[in-house]
């Protein structure tokens, strides 16, 4: 079984993003970029499936500008077998991503696609569910455990009320949540080896997919800052402020 893992290149989660003065978006120039953290978890899970003998090939795919090849190299350095880069604008929307991934699925016939639950830049939380719809496959979203047995997968989902166990047909889309695993680091020798692993490059046109955006960004703004607060000396002062000043208790 092949495992397909879409990996998105996003601003590193440690960077404090800055909104551009012209309100057209956030500043991307000279900003540290990294693989979306949820996608690292997805790559790790794919590697574990291969190591367990459930999967035999792990393919990382990234959609975006030429620099996204670095993100694919990161997945290859973690241990993925090969990469597919699809050239597209940086801010491509989840629906278009899902359509491109559907075309890749048609070419590669993976048994499972492991998607991040959410990209930490657009915070959309859509792509996996959309891909599942387009393929007519089952979806196991927000997974904190995954067990594949034959043509079924058991998924434990992190839901608002706690955990939910479901069983889904394979092939399937699983979107991964934080508690699924702890991703490995790429070792230096593996980073070197990754440079020689195959990486194909395609365009949306090659796949016959229309990726024109459906939404127009009117403006991107900074949120209002909170007014500065005060430090209190002790618990008595804190409680008195909460009772008499803030009047919240």
């Amino acid at each position: 079984m092949k495992v397909l893992v879409p990996v998105k290149r996003v601003i590193d989660y440690n960077v404090k993003v800055r909104v551009k003065a012209d309100q057209s978006g956030v500043e991307l120039a000279n900003v540290k970029m990294a693989m979306n953290p949820f996608d690292e978890i997805a790559v790790e899970q794919a590697l574990r499936l291969r190591e367990a003998g459930t999967a035999d090939e792990v393919i990382a795919v990234s959609i975006g500008p030429a620099q996204n090849q670095e993100t694919i190299r990161t997945a290859l350095a973690m241990g993925a077998d090969r990469g597919i880069h699809i050239e597209a604008p940086h801010d491509i929307e989840p629906l278009a991503v899902a359509k491109l991934l559907k075309a890749v699925v048609a070419q590669e016939n993976p048994g499972i696609v492991l998607v991040g639950k959410q990209a930490i830049d657009d915070d959309c939380n859509q792509t996996g569910q959309m891909l599942a719809a387009l393929l007519g496959w089952a979806q196991g979203t927000f997974a904190s455990a995954l067990e594949i047995a034959g043509d079924k997968a058991k998924v434990i989902r992190e839901v608002d009320g706690g955990l939910e166990h479901i069983e889904i047909n394979m092939p399937a889309i699983v979107t991964v949540d934080l508690r699924l695993n702890e991703p490995r680091y790429a070792s230096l020798p593996n980073i070197m080896k990754a440079k020689k692993k195959p990486l194909d490059s395609l365009t949306a046109g090659d796949l016959g997919v229309d990726i024109a955006p459906r939404l127009t960004i009117v403006k991107v703004e900074e949120p209002a800052a909170r007014a500065a607060g005060i430090k209190v000396g002790d618990v008595q002062e804190l409680v008195s402020k909460l009772k008499n000043e803030a009047k919240v208790i």
Partner: protein, 310 residues
């Protein structure tokens, strides 16, 4: 213009957050309908029909809809989509699971987690963990939207008198099956709607120490939350997590105990009315958003706080 709102419900009760989605929908204007999809939905249907402003309740009562499986619910919603300009749900794990699947079936781009409505086509939503707010406009024939509950007041639960209309067409897609749930049970208020939330972080050191926070929560009628680090470490279950990729809360009072204040945590609580931080590191970033900061060892401060509250 008419709007279909997916009713969020759990254990035979309408989830209060549905009322926030209704109030968001009412800002768009037009006739509002609610879809109650599930199995044995009687109580929920009654509650939905009483919500002020709702013209019609569509009821899809079928075994295949019992557990909100997206593979069964999304096609049903697609079959009901004719005539609606907007289809909305709350940005709960239910809404996040089903709405993108619906959007793709309708070939439209979803607008996730909206916090403000400018007009029927234009919406504001947070991106980058709320460090930027993006206003987007959509020309899609149907706007598929999820709503951040804390950003909208709740609509009145009473005063409505909607017509009730059963809808057919539900079926089991045969792709997925619900097995069981492990739900956290608590007598405390629900995290996202509690007026007061007290959260613990890695500084709590272990799960047993959360008992200190629970005692305070019980005195104040508060819910207990946590940072990702506290959940990852196994101190508390996943449903306690507040933040960018957990729950978003905006209570009157949020108390952060032993939480450093990473942007991913702030994303889930910085719209709280009053924020209190208790942390022994006076440079912890949480103090930048706290109205009242107490630099102290939590193992002294929290028991003292409990005593002071009497």
């Amino acid at each position: 213009m008419s709007i279909l709102i997916l009713c969020d419900h759990e254990n035979g009760q309408l989830s209060p957050v549905t009322l926030n989605a209704v109030s968001a929908a009412s800002q768009i204007g037009g006739e509002m309908h609610i879809l109650v999809a599930g199995d044995q939905t009687g109580n929920v249907v009654k509650a939905a029909a009483s919500i002020a402003g709702i013209a019609k309740v569509l009821v899809a009562d079928d075994k295949s809809l019992a557990n909100g499986l997206a593979e069964n619910l999304a096609p049903l919603m697609q079959s009901l989509s004719g005539g609606y300009s907007h289809m909305m749900a709350t940005a709960t794990t239910t809404g996040k699971n089903v709405m993108p699947r619906l959007a793709a079936l309708l070939d439209v781009m979803q607008i996730s987690d909206i916090i403000k409505i400018d007009d029927a086509n234009t919406f504001q939503r947070p991106i980058y963990a709320g460090n930027a707010l993006s206003t987007v406009s959509s020309n899609e024939a149907i706007k598929v939207i999820t709503v951040r509950g804390t950003a909208f007041e709740a609509a009145a639960a009473e005063g409505g008198n909607a017509t009730i209309e059963p809808v057919a067409g539900a079926s089991d897609a045969g792709l997925s099956a619900y097995v069981k749930s492990e739900l956290s049970s608590s007598k405390r208020p629900e995290l996202t709607s509690a007026p007061i939330v007290i959260s613990g972080g890695r500084g709590m050191q272990d799960g047993a120490n959360f008992a200190m926070l629970e005692k305070i929560a019980d005195k104040l009628g508060a819910a207990v939350g946590a940072s990702r680090a506290a959940v990852d470490a196994g101190f508390v279950p996943n449903d306690y997590q507040v933040g960018q990729t957990g729950k978003v809360v905006a209570p009157d009072l949020y108390v952060a105990v032993g939480i450093s204040g990473a942007i991913q945590h702030l994303a889930g609580m910085k719209d709280s009315k009053v924020i209190v931080a208790i942390n022994k590191d006076d440079e912890a970033p949480i103090f930048q958003v706290a109205d009242y900061g107490l630099v102290a060892d939590l193992f002294d401060a929290v028991p003292a706080l409990e005593k002071e509250l009497g």
